[in-house]
Structures are given as C-alpha cells and as structure tokens.
C-alpha cells in the first residue's frame, strides 16, 4: 500500500544553520505515528516544514508527497487546500493558539468555509455539531464566546474541532497536552483516539513524553539532533530499544511502580546545531561510542521487520542491553 504521506531527505536550515538533516518518514492511511525527541531534535520542524509553515528565511529541501503528489514548494493555492483540508494541525499552547479577538464561531466557520461546500445556516449548524462532537457543553451558546472564556483543555478541544472541520486525512498533533494538567491531558488523548477511530484518520503525535507516545501510537520514530535515530512499532521500541539514545531516554524515565532504580542520565547536553559534531551527533554523549562513530553519520538502516536504527554500534548496544558482555 502506498503511504499517505511520504517524506524523503527533508532538510531545514535557518540562516545556514541546519536543524533538520535529512529525514525520511512514511505515514500510512489511518496510522498513528509517534515522534519523540527532546527540544531541538526537529520533531516539530519536520511537520512545519512539510506543510510550508516555517518562516521565509528557513531553507527547506527534500521531498514531501501527499498521496503521491509533491507538496514541498507547491504553489500557495495548492498548499492552502492541503493545510486544514487534507492535513490538519494542532499545537501546544492552548492559551495563544486561537485568535483572541475573534469569536469561536468566526474561527470555526472560517475553516468550514475554506474546506467544505456549505452555505448559510448549514455552516453554523455544522460548527455546532463539531463543538458537540469534541465535548464542549452548550455548543450553540458557546459559539459566540471568545477564546479567553474557555479553559486550556476546552481550547484544545476547540482546536480539534477546527482541525476536523476540513475532514482531513491526517491530524498532526504537536505536543497537544504538554501545557495541560494530568487529568485534562487524559481527556484530550482519549478524545483524540476516539475521533481517530471514528473518522479513520491518520495521526502524527509529536511529544517529548515517551509515555504519551507509547500509549497512543502504533509506531514511533525517535529523533535526535535533526535526524531519526530509531523507528519501531511502539511496543517493541519500549521493550527492546536498540539505539543507545533511545535506551537512555527510556532509562531516564522514573518507574511508577516496582523497585526504584537509579535513572540513566545522559551526560552532557544536546549539541548546538551550529557546532554539530562530525559523524554521529549522539557519539559525544554515548557510552558505547567508538572511533568509527566520529567519522560518518550513520544512516537509518533496517534491522528487522518494521524496525530501523541509525547506529553502527547497534549490535553492541543490543547486547549491552541484554546484559551480554560485548565481544
């Protein structure tokens, strides 16, 4: 089956500083793909670049195909039909994601007018139905309210309603629950998964939270310093991570039950994009790094069915994880 979205060699540079360095990623119809990584890993930039949402001074190269059609560098009119129509996006900060001076009705109906062939009263009726659908009580009256009259969780629901307005094939959710309290986060994730089931929509969940991604996605890609370092079905990734970075990331997460153990802290910090080390970007922080790691950046290579990793020490790393003495 041909992928719904196919990204190849996507690279982004801001003022000559590379922040995304060749990302290959495919998304199937109806699939839930997770993208995890720490700040600066390029997980959001990947999708902002794919949809042409980066500022003009960003230099974007590579290829992004939606249903086989190239959308990178496509004319503005074509992109405007894709955005919100085929691919919808929701963002992290609910407090500022909606226009403060426009009513919810204006903002919701704007999406409907752009992507749906609806006229007059039908637009408002559909807006009300969408608000109902995402669980905003008293939708008819609340349409006339302004964003500041809603709580963070409700704004995120409205964002989801707006995203659904165009009947998209894919929803890109960029840290949709990071700014929310735990119980509200659970509500929003529940809503996203029920909507996904109902509409058969594909979803890309971008998060720094491994737990959130693991629970809500079929497949996960781990990003580090502008590249994908490991890609795997989510249950396999968490049971058996191969890339040393993925391993450390999982080890850095304190357990919620069972015995307490010392956390795996990764020494040092994420490299500055302007001073990226030669070879593997993770090598300076990697416990398993050897001389060849500094020579060339490893490519993402398949290691099993549906699994790929970008590490020349992958085999050693796997053995280390299993507790087998290396060599």
């Amino acid at each position: 089956m041909a992928p719904l979205v196919n990204i190849e060699g996507l690279s982004v540079a801001f003022n000559g500083v590379p922040v995304l360095r060749g990302v290959d990623l495919a998304l199937g119809k109806g699939e839930a793909l997770g993208l995890v990584g720490e700040s600066g890993s390029g997980k959001s930039v990947t999708w902002l670049a794919a949809l042409g949402l980066l500022p003009r001074h960003a230099k974007v190269t590579g290829s992004v195909r939606l249903n086989g059609r190239e959308i990178l560098g496509a004319p503005a009119a074509q992109l405007d039909r894709v955005r919100g129509g085929r691919v919808a996006m929701i963002f992290q900060d609910p407090a500022s994601a909606l226009n403060p001076v426009l009513t919810i009705r204006k903002q919701l109906c704007e999406s409907l007018a752009l992507h749906r062939d609806l006229q007059g009263n039908a637009v408002k009726a559909e807006a009300r139905r969408l608000l109902d659908l995402v669980g905003i009580p008293d939708a008819g009256r609340r349409l006339e309210a302004y964003p500041h009259e809603f709580s963070g969780g409700q704004v995120q629901r409205i964002m989801i309603a707006m995203a659904l307005a165009g009947n998209p094939d894919v929803l890109i959710a960029d840290e949709p629950t990071t700014a929310l309290d735990a119980t509200i986060q659970a509500q929003i994730l529940e809503l996203l998964s029920s909507i996904r089931c109902e509409f058969g929509m594909a979803m890309v969940l971008i998060s720094h939270d491994l737990g959130v991604v693991a629970e809500n996605c079929d497949r996960v890609a781990v990003m580090y310093a502008g590249r994908i370092v490991e890609e795997a079905p989510s249950n396999q990734l968490f049971a058996d991570p191969v890339h040393p970075y993925a391993q450390s990331l999982i080890g850095a997460l304190p357990p919620l039950d069972g015995p307490r153990r010392r956390l795996t802290a990764i020494p040092g910090t994420v490299p500055d994009p302007a001073m990226m080390p030669d070879g593997c970007a993770f090598a300076p922080r990697c416990a398993l790094a050897s001389d060849p790691c500094g020579l060339a950046a490893p490519t993402l290579a398949p290691i099993a069915n549906e699994r790929a990793v970008a590490c020349i020490r992958a085999e050693a790393s796997r053995r280390a994880l299993l507790g087998i003495a290396a060599e």
Binding site: A76, L98, V101
Partner: protein
C-alpha cells in the same frame, strides 16, 4: 460598567486639575508678570497698581483658589496684555491650528500605517530597511530642523513655496509636510513593531495551518490584533491636534494656538497660558478616554472585565 466609567472620568478630572495646578505653580514661580509686561523701568507705583488690579499681591494659595473658583464658574480670566477674555483669544486661533494639524493627522495615518504594515510583512527587505531608516530619521530629527531644511530647499533655493505667513493655501504646505513626516515616522515604526509582534503569535500559525490564504491571515487575523497597540499612539496624536504645532507654527510664523502660547509664556500672560493648557489637557484626556473605550471595542478580553463591573 457604571463604576468603570466613573473611575475613568474621575481619573480624567484629576489629570486636568494636576495639569492646571502645575502650570499655575511654574508660571508664578518663574517671574513677575508686572515686570514682564510693563518693563523694568516702570515706576513702582504703576507696578503695584498692576499687581493689585490682577490680584497678584494676594497670597499664592488665595490666587490659586480664586483661579479654580473662576474656572468652575467658567471664567477663564482676561489677558493681562490687552484685557480681552483669554478664552476668546485662544478660540480665535484654533481654526488656524486645525488647518495645519487636521491635514497633517490625515497624512500621518495614510502614510505611516500602510508603511508600517508593509515593512512588517516584508521584514528585512530593501523596502523595510528604507522605511525604517526614514522613520528613524523622521523622529530623531527635531521638527524645527526639518522645518528649516524644508524652508531652505523649497523656499530659499527653489523658491517654489513661501517660507512663512498665512496668506494662501500654499503657505500651509510646508508646515503640514513638516508635521506629517515626523508623525508618520512614529506611526510607521509603531505599526511595524505591533504587526511583527502579532505575526509571531501562535494563532497566526494556527490560521495558516487551517489553510487560510496569507492575504486573509493578514487582514482578518493579524490586523485586528495589531490595531490594539496602534490605537494608543493614534489617540495620543488626536490629543496633540490643538497644541501639537507649537514649534512648527513658530518657525513658519503661522498664527495658531501654538504661537499664541509662545508669546503668552514669554510675557507671563498667565490667564492665556492657563487657558491654553486647560484646553490641551482636556483634549488629551478626552482622546485618552476615547482610546480606553476603543480598547474595549477592539479587545474582547478587556470588554469582559468591563462587563463584570
């Protein structure tokens, strides 16, 4: 809402009282009107009679109360120079001033706001840099320097326009240009930064991600938000319509309120100075009130706060 209004109006009244008090104190402390008007050679008994006639020999707090009492009754005093009511002197100068400041206000808005928006939308472009350089020059160069430069070029060198006076519409061109350029520069810079701030907000990205065409993102999402800070500076400009042309009127010998003020201050013609200051304070305060209500209209977040009162 009633309480909100009451507080606003109370504050406005307080501002006016403070301005008038300040003017009263400064003018009384800075020199003796009798000496200024009659000259140092005037005989002492004439000076004493003048002081008695204008109440200048009363204790200063008495003069102050007297003055406020008169204002409350609507009497703004008489000019010490020619004895005419101060208000009359001031009012007859207003049309001349407005003949300069109203067209200038129009040009400020028509030039400054679009230039600022354009510069923000094309940030870093050659046009943005040109607009910003002009804007910086526009408000760092004092208006009298600009006025003199314009006179030098268009009146002295080229001889196209008169250098001063009020005989025809052609006399108004250079003063209006002087006033417009400075104001347009301020407005352009302000609009540009307001617009850049708004364009960086997440809700602009949300609109683009919804598939709203860029032109519409700008007009229906960015501009209404950028209007909120821009209204502040516009309100200030409306406030200066009466007395914002003091320097320009002096340079071009334009017989407006500004020149009257300069002459009155030089002569310690207290009633006239105070009358003008009262008028200026009132226009300033009124335009501030209008701005406050416009905020409520433009920004629903403030409207909600008002509604609770």
């Amino acid at each position: 809402m009633g309480r909100y209004l009451a507080i606003r109006f109370g504050r406005a009244a307080l501002t006016i009282v403070l301005v008038v008090t300040f003017a009263f104190v400064v003018l009384r402390l800075s020199g003796d009107p009798a000496l200024m008007i009659l000259g140092p050679e005037a005989p002492p008994e004439v000076l004493a009679a003048f002081r008695k006639a204008w109440g200048l020999d009363d204790p200063i707090w008495f003069q102050y109360l007297d003055y406020f009492g008169a204002i409350a009754k609507g009497e703004l005093g008489r000019s010490m120079r020619d004895g005419r009511p101060a208000i009359e002197l001031v009012l007859e100068r207003i049309p001349a001033t407005l003949a300069l400041t109203l067209p200038a206000f129009f040009f400020k808005v028509v030039l400054g706001i679009p230039a600022g928006i354009y510069a923000a939308l094309h940030r870093g472009s050659a046009i943005d840099r040109a607009v910003m350089m002009t804007a910086v020059a526009g408000f760092t160069v004092p208006s009298f320097v600009l006025a003199l430069l314009l006179v030098l070029v268009f009146a002295v060198q080229l001889g196209w326009l008169p250098s001063g006076g009020q005989d025809s519409w052609r006399h108004a061109i250079l003063p209006i240009v002087t006033l417009s350029l400075g104001g347009a520069a301020v407005l352009a810079r302000f609009t540009r930064s307001a617009m850049l701030e708004v364009l960086g907000q997440p809700y602009i990205r949300t609109a683009s991600a919804k598939g709203v065409p860029w032109r519409k993102v700008v007009t229906s999402h960015a501009l209404p938000n950028a209007a909120i800070p821009t209204v502040t500076i516009l309100g200030f400009m409306v406030g200066t319509l009466i007395a914002g042309a003091v320097v320009v009127e002096s340079v071009f010998s334009w017989p407006g309120v500004g020149r009257l003020l300069v002459v009155a201050v030089a002569n310690r013609d207290l009633a006239v100075v105070q009358c003008i200051l009262l008028l200026v304070a009132m226009t300033m305060v009124t335009s501030n009130l209008v701005v406050d209500f416009l905020y409520g209209f433009l920004d629903p977040r403030l409207r909600a706060k008002g509604a609770h009162a």
